[in-house]
């Protein structure tokens, strides 16, 4: 017989959306339950990862390296056939989710990101206006603790200041990149970060260790260090780690979810959760997959909320093309992250010609494998000059961009590939349109110009446009006015189900070039207020 648990709110997914939502719902006094398929990592785990990274010379050591195989839900990708692009996810499983290792980029959407269909004819409009959403972005910045300066001439209006000042520009940004951009008519400005520039709500300021993935000082926001401790101190909130949600069960009328059927990862035992309200906060892939796996024999026979055939459609992500330079002179130190970005190519006048993108550059990023470029540039004929190579390393810088996509991907169940519990995994077919490819093309034109303006002596080719796919999956359970255009309404309630809500980047009708995390947190805060009918939550 299955173990049964009852709660007022059952939140599936203990990532940044789930734990911040729970932290607000806790104030209601109602019973809140969070389920997460992964473990609760400890500070000791984190320290050991950093040590192991050094011991094993693995610059890509990460939180999920040593978890049980059943903790990780695989996915498949359509690959190269029919011009589909291989999609490789970068998500994490564990309490805190992918934000355990994120970079902490907290760049806001622009006002027109939410109206691209109306203004530019591509993508989908949000059913929420920027003016209605903006206060939630401000609150999200306060929850996360965002460091930023009000120096972005391309930004949309904001109703309040950043919680703390931005990080000072690096030598490279101030003396090399910024002037180079200015000579091209591009303004470089501060980059909003979830890394504290001064002590904030018990967090240290950045100590410049440059190992941001593990952030020994705690300056970089991580859900398990900020909001998880808050909810762990609440008697009415319970976190169940290493519990995998298998499917949601709808009632006989098909208008409510009555149970969440789960399996404990460690021993395979069954667990049933019955709750008044269910919220899926499983990220951009597992949220749509769970709605598909929960198809019933009635109105939701094609998946929950899929009456209009929109579930899994318009899957999107970002492209992250890169260029490496030998700037010809030492570029100085990197704080561990970039301090200057430019939203110039997100601005309206550029957006009619190509998808929007933003750029940043810094002394070569820690994890970026610059060895190939260094070897190539130090080889002349049959001679490899290692002296030249060594002298070039402190001169190397990397320029990166994050570009928006039209959103023509698709997510479906892959009946040929099953997860460790026997359910079909998600299969992503990522297609880049001719429009999508205009942004990397523009960057390929721009990169040598920036290089010349910086005085670079070498400029590498643009890393293929497909590189980087998988960081920000979105769009497969979009918000919409009706089931003909999406899966949930503007309050994130799944169509046809009165007690099922979603909160993840999967609900974005369209994702601009900005990273999604700030918007996810804004939506989680907004959902908490909606569920409790209390805007002050």
């Amino acid at each position: 017989m299955s173990e049964e648990i009852r709660a007022d709110y059952c939140i599936a997914g203990g990532g940044i959306a789930g734990v911040i939502l729970a932290s607000k719902l806790a104030a209601s006094g109602k019973q809140v339950l969070i389920l997460d398929q992964g473990p609760r990592f400890t500070e000791s785990d984190r320290a050991n990862m950093l040590l192991r990274s050094r011991e094993t010379l693995n610059d890509f050591a990460d939180y999920n390296d040593d978890v049980a195989a059943a903790t990780l839900t695989p996915h498949s990708s359509a690959g190269d056939e029919n011009e589909a692009v291989e999609w490789v996810a970068q998500r994490l499983f564990g309490v805190g989710g992918t934000a355990l290792h994120f970079e902490g980029l907290m760049i806001r959407p622009r006002e027109d990101d939410l109206k691209v269909k109306t203004l530019y004819g591509y993508g989908r409009d949000w059913p929420v206006s920027y003016s209605e959403f903006e206060p939630w972005l401000l609150r999200a910045e306060q929850e996360i603790g965002v460091a930023g300066d009000d120096d972005n001439p391309y930004a949309s209006p904001r109703s309040g200041p950043f919680p703390m000042p931005g990080h000072p520009f690096s030598y490279f940004d101030r003396e090399i990149l910024g002037p180079a951009l200015a000579s091209l008519g591009i303004v470089g400005h501060s980059c909003p970060r979830g890394t504290a520039s001064e002590p904030y709500r018990g967090r240290s300021s950045c100590m410049a260790c440059r190992a941001c993935k593990f952030c020994p000082s705690g300056a970089r926001y991580s859900p398990d260090r900020v909001h998880v401790p808050i909810i762990e101190g609440q008697p009415n909130v319970t976190i169940l780690e290493s519990v995998s949600l298998r499917r949601l069960e709808t009632g006989a009328q098909g208008d409510r979810v009555v149970a969440a059927h789960c399996t404990r990862v460690e021993d395979g035992t069954a667990l049933v959760v019955r709750a008044e309200n269910f919220i899926l906060a499983l990220g951009g892939v597992e949220t749509p997959r769970m709605l598909m796996l929960s198809a019933d024999g009635g109105v939701h026979s094609a998946g929950l909320g899929n009456m209009g055939g929109q579930l899994g459609r318009r899957f999107s992500d970002h492209l992250n093309p890169y260029v490496t330079y030998d700037v010809g002179r030492p570029v100085g130190s990197r704080l561990g992250f970039e301090t200057m970005v430019s939203d110039h190519f997100r601005a309206q006048e550029n957006r009619r010609e190509h998808p929007s993108f933003w750029i940043l550059a810094s002394p070569a990023m820690d994890w970026f494998p610059i060895g190939n470029e260094a070897v190539s540039w130090a080889t002349r004929g049959d001679t490899l000059s290692l002296d030249d190579l060594r002298e070039s390393i402190p001169r190397m810088a990397t320029l990166a961009a994050m570009t928006e996509l039209e959103g023509e991907g698709a997510l479906e169940l892959d009946e040929d590939n099953l997860d460790p519990f026997g359910s079909p995994v998600a299969k992503v077919t990522m297609r880049l349109t001719e429009w999508d490819r205009r942004a990397p093309t523009k960057l390929a034109e721009l990169a040598p110009q920036i290089g010349e303006a910086m005085g670079a002596v070498q400029v590498a080719d643009l890393t293929p446009a497909e590189f980087g796919l998988g960081y920000h999956p979105s769009g497969a359970t979009a918000m919409a006015e009706s089931p003909d255009d999406g899966v949930c309404d503007s309050n994130l309630k799944v169509f046809g189900l009165e007690n099922l809500h979603l909160v993840s980047n999967s609900v974005f009708p369209h994702m601009g070039a900005n990273p999604p995390t700030l918007m996810i947190v804004g939506l989680a805060l907004r959902l908490a207020a909606h569920l409790e009918g209390n805007a002050a939550l």
Binding site: T56, L57, N58, D59, A208, V375, D382, L384, I393
Partner: protein
């Protein structure tokens, strides 16, 4: 001793001024004596190559430790030792023992497959954060500096 140390600079200039024939792969006497020596094990060969191609000079702390960790790492095992062990040994035998931080390599003296292996190894070594930070005179990765303005200063 770091890359920007004046003494090291002097050494680098001195080595760079030597005739090309002194560069590895061209010194036939040195090559012959190395080739005649008893073969090193694959692990010892890889360690020798790492120290020879890496940025450390004799006396630099951490060089031996790095080389040992490189040889023991899973990707070194995956890319160099099981499948290419003989090639690693062959490549290592072309160079004298005990050299560190060589100035240049004459690739023209190497068979194509060994040439590619050497280039891959160099690319691999200099992509690693630990090596790049050493070369750039940066403090070790993950060590808190307690100075959040360090990145704002002009490089020395």
């Amino acid at each position: 001793m770091r890359n920007h140390d004046p003494e090291r600079r002097q050494f680098v200039k001195l080595v760079a001024s030597l005739p090309v024939a002194f560069a590895f792969g061209c010194d036939t006497e040195r090559y012959r004596s190395a080739a005649d020596a008893p073969p090193l094990s694959p692990e010892e060969s890889l360690r020798k190559l790492v120290l020879m191609l890496g940025p450390w000079r004799a006396g630099d702390t951490g060089a031996e430790d790095f080389a040992a960790r490189f040889v023991a790492s899973s990707y070194a095992g995956g890319q160099y030792l099981p499948g290419s062990a003989e090639m690693v040994q062959s490549l290592a035998r072309r160079f004298p023992d005990g050299e560190m931080a060589v100035s240049e390599v004459d690739l023209g003296q190497l068979p194509a497959d060994e040439r590619q292996l050497l280039l891959n190894l160099v690319s691999h070594i200099y992509s690693l954060i630990e090596v790049r930070f050493f070369v750039a005179n940066e403090p070790p990765w993950g060590a808190c500096q307690g100075d959040r303005t360090r990145h704002t200063r002009a490089p020395a």
